[in-house]
Amino acid sequence: MEQAVFFFEILLPALMQGLVVTLQLIACSAPFGLALGIAVAVGRQYGNPVISWLCKTYVFLIKGTPLLLLLFILYFGLPSIGITFTAFVASVVGFILCNGAYNAEYIRGALISIKEGQMVAAQALGMTRWQAIRNVILPQALCRAIPGLSNEFIYLIKYSSLAYMITVIELSGAGKLVATKYFTYTESFAAVGIVYLVLVSITTIAVTILEKRVAVPGTARATPSAQL
């Protein structure tokens, strides 16, 4: 009986509060991560040499650095040079930077996979380079990038837990606090884990539906559907 009381009156409410923060973190990061990814991919592929180099270096640096270290730099490091973020904002900025770099790689791959003839054809029809990218190349490329992008989105859900390491009490943090206070480590973290599994599984299903929706009839994708 006591187990049930602990579960329903202590653990579950705490986790739900944490879940709200986790969802806020994701909702604030994902759209900007996608936008950054598109901008960096296009900049690297179609920009002038300087922009292209900048985009390439950005991806190189972010992919080489652990996300946790990036969060430490943003939250503990930046104040020493006069830039102070709240923990929540620092996490969101970190997630956007990280998500954007990985998204850019997938989008770039998709951009490359669009045949060059399409650009030539679009320009022959009188479009400018920029119009061709925006109206012809990008829509197709983004469709092809969906499996990769959704993988990154799922990573974002999971890595949002690292915000706890810079004091944001999100889902994992809420679980940790309950676990430490009531000495219920296995139960609390198992419950936290189940919530993440539910989030990830729902996303996987949603992505499969999205993929079917945006698929252009007659151009079936050869690669297997998005994995966790």
Binding site: G64, S161, T186, G193
Partner: protein, 225 residues
């Protein structure tokens, strides 16, 4: 406030942190292959219950954040089954390895499935047993096909190993934080740590790519993975 002398002062600690980080990564990669390859074989050739168990294992370890897994095993599961005496380093390496196995099994599975089914039939028709066929015909090809994808696990595990900071493994990020709290120099030290991670990351990848070229069969592409 010159940083270089401080970094040099701390060099032995930094090096021990690097060693610890690399130890975590190598242990996790090794454990990942050791568990991941049999899991992949089980998922492709195993009976239904085997496939089921492997599927659930993969779903579980790929669905949970590394931080939650570390907390779950370090505070919960290992102490509960009487392994509370294990050091943080061992727990970190084991958890990274268990999780790595889940990811790597899927890389190996894809590679095994990409070796044409006809090869198994041909091998069987030559009188090989299923096991011999897997061992001498399928695996030598599959492992080579899997290698490029498998190499990409290295940077993932390297960056995830930093999360072991959360359970108190004294790896590179932990050493970095200690340096920051003791010297009160923040940015330069963090950036130096980032630099070290980047060097480890791309240096290791370069070595792995060299290995790929070494074991490639001439004229036989390593597959489009």
């Amino acid at each position: 406030m010159d940083v270089l002398p401080i970094l040099l002062d701390w060099l032995p600690y930094l090096l021990s942190g690097i060693a610890s980080t690399l130890g975590l990564v190598l242990a996790a990669l090794g454990l990942g292959v050791l568990l991941g390859l049999p899991m992949a074989l089980g998922q492709v050739y195993g009976a239904r219950p085997v496939r089921w168990v492997v599927g659930i294992y993969v779903w579980f370890f790929r669905g949970l954040p590394i931080l939650v897994l570390l907390f779950l095993f370090w505070f919960g599961i290992f102490p509960a089954i009487g392994l509370g005496e294990l050091s943080a380093f061992v727990v970190g390496a084991v958890v990274l390895g268990l999780r790595g196995a889940a990811y790597q099994s899927q890389i190996f599975r894809g590679a095994i499935q990409s070796v044409g089914e006809g090869q198994m039939i041909a091998a069987r028709s030559l009188g090989m047993s299923r096991l011999t066929a897997i061992r001498s015909v399928i695996l030598p090809q599959a492992v080579r096909i899997a290698l490029p994808g498998w190499s990409n696990e290295y940077p993932n595990i390297l960056t995830d190993s930093a999360v072991c900071y959360a359970i108190g493994v004294v790896e590179l990020l932990t050493i970095t934080s200690r340096m920051v709290t003791q010297t009160h120099i923040t940015m330069p030290i963090y950036l130096a740590a980032a630099g070290i991670f980047i060097v480890l990351n791309y240096g290791g990848l370069k070595l792995l790519h060299r290995l790929e070229k070494r074991i490639a069969i001439p004229g036989f592409g390593t597959g489009a993975m």
